[in-house]
């Protein structure tokens, strides 16, 4: 296994389009790094640059202390699992898994041992003689993983490997990949646009937008302390509620006014707004759906941050219920634990957890306080 460093890596195409801009990242040995972001944000391009399938326009890619910008993909000792699995259709499962070892002229007995071991780990033992077309989506996915495992590479690259599976299988495979990472102790770089995969699998997540790294952090920190509005909105489902609010000082207290409502901020948020010179200016208020509550205890505890809303849509998800409502024509969601009697058309009183309010600069969209 190995460490990987990307230093000021850029990707610029001949037509002038910059897919990746000044990408910097240090990946430690055995880390599970996730690249996440919307389509076209440059995450797959970055992965392909690490694999050697795309040239690096500028910057340095270092694997195990060695600059590998000009090293051929086959000589980087990297294995990749593709979104489409890219299995060789004319070869059996066994041959697909053994192919790279045969090219390396590994002795037959050793190849057999490694393939059968990988097949055992991935529960593919009974499928070794089948061709890929005779396999289900989940089985193909496992073969693709097996093909990577047998090589014992320095780094595993995975490009949206679960996106072609149905929701149930995706959940199962997510767990399998997590187990595999623990078992192999390997360095993995994983690309996804599915934030559930990102949050559950990654030791660190790289959030990208328009070719620029927005934030690199642990899943928990990304969720609790997003560095800007984009990250706050991208991580979390349902996504964070946001609304423009006017910051003001009334009777010695800092308040936020929005949609005819006024909430009083707690001390540290008030201090941050004051020190930042935001009083009298517009800021963006953000709060996660689960931090908006309708129960009596919360209404009492956060009496200074309650507001009224008319329920537009009610969704029962089992353990939680979602109430959709509009504030100043902006859609908001409250995720309530337990059950609620509120139904569409009802007016409900809701409270925001003042400790969980995020405030963003209206112009730069950077976090002021969270």
């Amino acid at each position: 296994m190995a460490s990987v460093q990307l230093k000021n890596v850029c990707k610029k195409y001949p037509n002038g389009y910059e897919a990746v801009k000044d990408f910097n990242l240090d990946i430690e040995d055995k880390e599970f790094i996730i690249f996440v972001g919307p389509s076209g944000c440059g995450k797959s391009t970055t992965l392909r640059m690490v694999a050697g399938l795309e040239d690096i326009s500028s910057g340095e890619l270092i694997i195990d202390g060695k600059v590998v910008n000009d090293v051929e993909p086959k000589d980087r000792d990297i294995a990749m699992v593709f979104q489409s699995y890219a299995l060789y259709p004319h070869m059996t499962v066994y041959d697909n898994m053994a192919f790279s070892l045969k090219l390396k002229k590994v002795p037959k007995e050793e190849i057999d041992k490694k393939v059968r071991e990988a097949a055992r780990i991935l529960d593919l033992e009974k499928l070794l003689d089948r061709k890929p077309r005779a396999l289900s989506g989940g089985q193909r996915q496992r073969v693709a993983m097996g093909r990577a495992i047998v090589r014992s590479p320095k780094v595993f690259l995975m490009d949206e490997p679960l996106s072609n599976l149905d929701a149930k299988l995706r959940g199962q495979m997510r767990v399998e990949i997590s187990k595999l990472h623990q078992r192999l102790g390997s360095t993995i770089i994983y690309v996804t646009h599915d934030q559930t995969e990102a949050m559950t699998l990654g030791t660190r997540i790289v959030v990208m937008k328009d070719g620029i790294v927005q934030q690199i952090d642990t899943p928990q920190n990304l969720y609790d302390h997003p560095c800007n509005k984009f990250v706050a909105g991208f991580i979390g489902s349902p996504q964070m509620n946001m609304i423009d609010a006017a910051a003001a000082e009334e009777n010695g207290k800092v308040v936020l006014k929005f949609a005819g409502q006024t909430i009083v901020l707690n001390e540290n948020r008030a201090k941050a707004l004051k020190e930042g010179g935001y009083i009298g200016k517009t800021v963006t208020l953000g709060i996660r759906p689960e931090d908006v509550s309708a129960d009596e205890e919360a209404l009492e505890k956060f009496a200074n941050s309650t507001f009224e809303a008319e329920v537009r849509v009610y969704e029962m998800l089992g353990a939680t219920s979602l109430l959709h409502f509009d504030l100043d024509n902006t859609g908001w969601v409250a995720s309530l634990s337990g059950r609620t009697d509120a139904r569409p058309g009802d007016k409900v009183r809701l409270a925001m957890d003042t400790e969980k309010i995020h405030i963003f600069d209206h112009e730069t969209e950077k976090t002021i306080v969270d």
Binding site: A51, G52, L53, E72, P73, K74, I78, A79, M80, F82, Q83, S84, A86, L87, Y88, P89, H90, F99, S100, L103, K104, R147, R151
Partner: protein, 279 residues
């Protein structure tokens, strides 16, 4: 409409479709049947007005005459050698060129491919004179290589194989590179085996074209022992300008390789026609 009238309308429609295809089949098969029957007739019978359908007596002499007039053994050998080498060259070189045009990035790729397309669009007769001059200069007329020469590379084959490679996802080649293949290994071990159906179709097309090629073999090889079946038969016409039964017997004998080829590669032939949108 009730059920019985619907049923009747459906039957009439089906009968109409069948009638259409039966007539079409008769039109297609008629020349072959006429050739077969004529090959067993006498010269007089073959030219009779009104024509007779079946021969009065089945003449096998026409076949012996045809075989005596032409060195059929040499013609078969020359034809098979020409077909074999043209097929091998077309499949190998078209695969390589098609792969390069479909999957590799190099300077001038689009320009080169347009040149290939232009060559395909021009009538092949245009190339006959320069090709003949080239061969004549190196003294390779009247040789098997002379017969094979225009089929060494194929613009149609290059285009056809390029389309086949375009249908293979890039990820498969990329997976091969990451598995340790170089460009050549990726082509030979991974990509080419995925185009075997297209290769077989191209082989069948090339074989059929080579077998039917008359003008080039007639020009490049004037020695009867180095001619192909098609050019040899053409000389038969010169010698027996009115002896149609012998000509038809010779044509029937010349058809044997193609019939055998078709029987062996029926599936590939039909798949190939379907692939090119000709079906």
């Amino acid at each position: 409409m009730n059920n019985s009238s619907l049923e009747r309308a459906r039957k009439i429609r089906t009968a109409g479709i069948y009638a259409f295809f039966i007539i079409g089949s008769i039109v297609m098969i008629f020349p072959f049947v006429w050739m077969l029957l004529t090959s067993f007739k006498t010269v007089e019978e073959s030219m009779m007005v009104p024509p007779t359908i079946l021969p009065a007596a089945w003449q096998l002499k026409n076949f012996t005459d045809a075989m005596a007039s032409l060195p059929f053994g040499a013609l078969y050998k020359n034809t098979l050698l020409m077909i074999f080498w043209r097929v091998v060259c077309a499949v190998v070189f078209s695969s390589m060129a098609g792969y390069a045009f479909a999957k590799l990035n190099f300077k001038g790729k689009d320009l080169l491919f347009s040149i290939v397309l232009v060559q395909q669009m021009l009538p092949s007769q245009i190339f006959i004179t320069p090709q003949y001059q080239m061969l004549a200069k190196v003294g390779l007329t009247n040789s098997i290589f002379g017969l094979v020469f225009p089929g060494l590379v194929s613009a149609f084959g290059t285009f056809f194989m390029r389309q086949a490679y375009l249908g293979i996802p890039n990820e498969i080649a990329e997976a091969a590179y990451l598995d340790g293949c170089n460009q050549w290994q990726s082509f030979v071990k991974v990509m080419a085996p995925l185009t075997t159906a297209s290769m077989a179709a191209l082989a069948v097309f090339t074989a059929v074209f080579a077998y039917g090629d008359l003008m080039w073999p007639l020009i490049v090889n004037t020695d009867l022992n180095l001619m192909t079946l098609s050019s040899g038969l053409a000389t038969l016409r010169g010698q027996f300008s009115t002896n149609f039964p012998v000509m038809m017997a010779g044509s029937l004998l010349a058809m044997i390789p193609m019939v055998v080829l078709y029987l062996f590669f029926q599936k590939q032939f039909i798949e190939g026609v379907a692939m090119t949108g000709g079906k």
